[in-house]
């Protein structure tokens, strides 16, 4: 048993898991506010990362400015998607809404491949020192950055939903749209805002992953990895999404460890979360923190 490797992998899993948690959080945000299951969440990461990469390498914008412009762009992008594509589908059956986000997903995946090619592109280096030693373990400084950013985003979410006016309006809309509307909350605005926030937060995660691993269409797979995380945590719980993300991150790394050292099945890194997903759907479909939906006739 190689304990050091296991520990290192678990740490990696924690760091990647917080990123999953961030993406899962933005997924849950859309689901809670507008009841849309967004299969195109991964494409938000992809688009954000490619835009930032394009600004940084082709136009030589400094990192901070490039990052801010990306976020501004993603705000508009999120609102545009909601208004143009999702708004006409309000009140349509689940299958239509699911399919339209799947359609968006393959559309933007192909568009990004067309515009930027199929090869992974590295970001220009952001930090001087590449590797930092924490408690005797070597951690890449970009990983630390991603951890800090993820935790910061989670803190910002917590503040936003408990203290800010817009956050409260969003929670009210998620609780009951008609009641929210009667209290003078613009549900349209809340929908648009939730998509904008979700797109921005996902883009931050996309840029972080891009800085760590390089930008490629593999980023959109984060949008699929989100499903085990959110089902584990409960589809409409933000806390659950964060926890689910971390658990999935650790799980896939630990599965990878046992796969390479003991089982030699291959590819468990990718597949293990999906086995867990099916198990949870069988045993506890509302996840750890999700609200149980009681249907009345």
């Amino acid at each position: 048993m190689n304990w050091e490797l296991l520990f290192q992998l678990t740490l990696n899993g924690l760091i990647v898991g917080t990123l999953y948690g961030v993406v899962a959080m933005s997924f849950v945000l859309i689901y809670k506010a507008s009841q849309v299951v967004n299969f195109a969440q991964g494409e938000f990461l992809l688009v954000g990362a490619w835009v930032c990469w394009w600004l940084l390498t082709e136009h030589r914008v400094p990192f901070l400015w490039g990052f801010l412009i990306t976020l501004a762009f993603m705000t508009l992008f999120g609102i545009l998607i909601q208004v143009v594509v999702l708004r006409p589908l309000i009140g349509e059956p689940v299958i239509s809404v699911i399919m339209v986000t799947i359609g968006l997903s393959i559309f933007f995946q192909a568009l990004m491949k067309w515009m930027f090619g199929v090869f992974a592109q590295p970001f220009p280096p952001i930090f001087e020192t590449q590797v930092v030693s924490v408690m005797g373990l070597e951690v890449q400084s970009v990983y630390l950055m991603s951890l800090v950013i993820s935790v910061a985003i989670m803190g910002a979410f917590a503040w936003f939903f408990t203290a800010s006016k817009h956050g409260l309006a969003m929670r009210a809309t998620a609780f009951d749209q008609q009641v929210a509307q009667s209290l003078g909350i613009s549900v349209r605005q809340v929908f648009a805002m939730s998509w904008a926030i979700s797109a921005v937060v996902s883009a931050v995660a996309g840029v972080v992953v891009g800085v760590v691993n390089g930008v490629s269409s593999a980023l959109s797979f984060y949008g699929i990895k989100v499903f085990p995380a959110v089902i584990l945590g409960g589809l409409d719980s933000i806390l659950g999404a964060v926890l689910g993300g971390i658990i999935v991150g650790v799980l896939e790394n630990v599965a990878h460890f046992f796969d390479t050292t003991l089982l030699n099945w291959g590819n468990m890194y990718q597949i293990a979360p999906f086995y867990v997903l099916i198990l949870i759907l069988m045993i506890k479909p509302y996840g750890l923190f999700g609200t149980k939906n009681i249907e009345r006739v």
Partner: protein
């Protein structure tokens, strides 16, 4: 799914028997028979390319019809249909490898795929809506992973080579002959599906879709019918996959991706959810779409648009984009699909010039 409420005027059925006939009038039955007869003449034109497109439409249409029974008629969403299509293809190739004649291997592959579909269908019967969608998404990845791993069944990364069918020494190894085999299966499966929907079981499936609680109160066993629907859908996918395997003659483990599953969903949405003929229309649309894109790219090749966008080496991406865009546009502007549009056109001519 709102298609029933939007049935155009000009419906004059008087008995239940009339309501459940496959063909509403004698003329439409004559047209359908004439259509099949006309299709039998297509190989005589000798156009290989058109034939290969039509064979594709055939096996994809059968699989799409299976998905439509599951999604359109029973209301169970599946994002893993291409995995079952793949199971059919590999199962058929495996049977042939073990000495089963190809013509027998095709229905056997359908049965084997039904068994696999039932295995996934029993747990899935507890789920519905988006939970089921996510579960089938997971199933897609798990089966895809299984394909890559199970060397005894799929030949591993190398894939599996198989043979064309033959009957009494006559080989269906050219487009012309294989076309008839596919056509026979298409006619068989579509008539089978149309009849299924007229039967007690078919009506039960539709009841489960429309309001599962009411259906349960009326005495319909939800678990049984949801699993049955999964099984039927897998059977169609298996037949489609087997026909695909013996046409392409090589089954690769990488062919059955999530994108392929999405294409199947695209077919039934574009064709029309809950419409038997709509599945075929959707398959035709989905096969023709890349051809139209290719034609467009060829038409503008060398021109200003081509130079500005670099179309020449982007056609494959353009195809995917057009598929995505077609799904989005149909959902926004024509959610009931081509089948509904076709019904409107027929109704328009029925009472011409006094429609509406």
């Amino acid at each position: 799914m709102a298609a029933i409420a939007m049935t155009p005027c000009g419906d004059f059925r008087q008995s239940y028997r009339e309501d459940t006939t496959i063909f509403p009038t004698r003329l439409s039955r004559a047209f359908a028979i004439a259509g099949v007869a006309l299709l039998c003449l297509v190989p005589l034109t000798g156009d290989r390319y058109v034939l290969s497109l039509m064979i594709q439409m055939g096996y994809l249409g059968i699989a799409a019809l299976g998905l439509n029974i599951l999604v359109g008629f029973t209301g169970q969403i599946s994002i893993g249909h291409s995995a079952f299509f793949g199971v059919g293809a590999f199962a058929s190739a495996w049977f042939v490898e073990h000495g089963v004649p190809v013509l027998l291997a095709i229905p056997l592959a359908g049965v084997a795929t039904t068994a696999v579909g039932m295995v996934f269908g029993i747990p899935a019967a507890r789920l519905k809506g988006l939970y089921l969608a996510i579960a089938t998404l997971a199933a897609q990845f798990i089966i895809e992973d299984f394909f890559a791993r199970a060397r005894w069944f799929t030949g591993g990364v190398a894939g599996r080579i198989t043979q064309p069918p033959s009957l009494f020494g006559f080989a269906f190894d050219s487009n012309e002959t294989y076309f008839y085999l596919v056509l026979a299966w298409v006619v068989l499966m579509f008539i089978g599906a149309a009849n299924l929907m007229r039967s007690r079981d078919g009506r039960a499936l539709v009841a489960v879709r429309d309001h599962y609680l009411s259906a349960e109160i009326m005495g319909i066993n939800l678990t049984y019918y949801r699993t049955l629907s999964f099984g039927i859908s897998s059977f169609f996918a298996g037949i489609g996959g087997a026909l695909y395997a013996h046409y392409i003659l090589f089954v690769s483990v990488e062919a059955f991706t999530i994108l392929f599953s999405i294409q199947f969903l695209g077919m039934i949405i574009i064709g029309g959810l809950g419409s038997v003929m709509g599945s075929m229309m959707g398959a035709v649309f989905m096969v023709m779409l890349p051809e139209v894109v290719q034609w467009f790219a060829d038409a503008v090749a060398g021109g200003a648009i081509d130079r500005a966008l670099g179309l020449g080496n982007a056609v494959s991406f353009l195809r995917e984009m057009v598929i995505g865009a077609a799904i989005i546009l149909f959902l926004i502007f024509e959610p009931d699909g081509l089948a509904h549009r076709w019904r409107l056109i027929k109704a328009y001519w029925k009472l011409y010039p006094f429609s509406h």
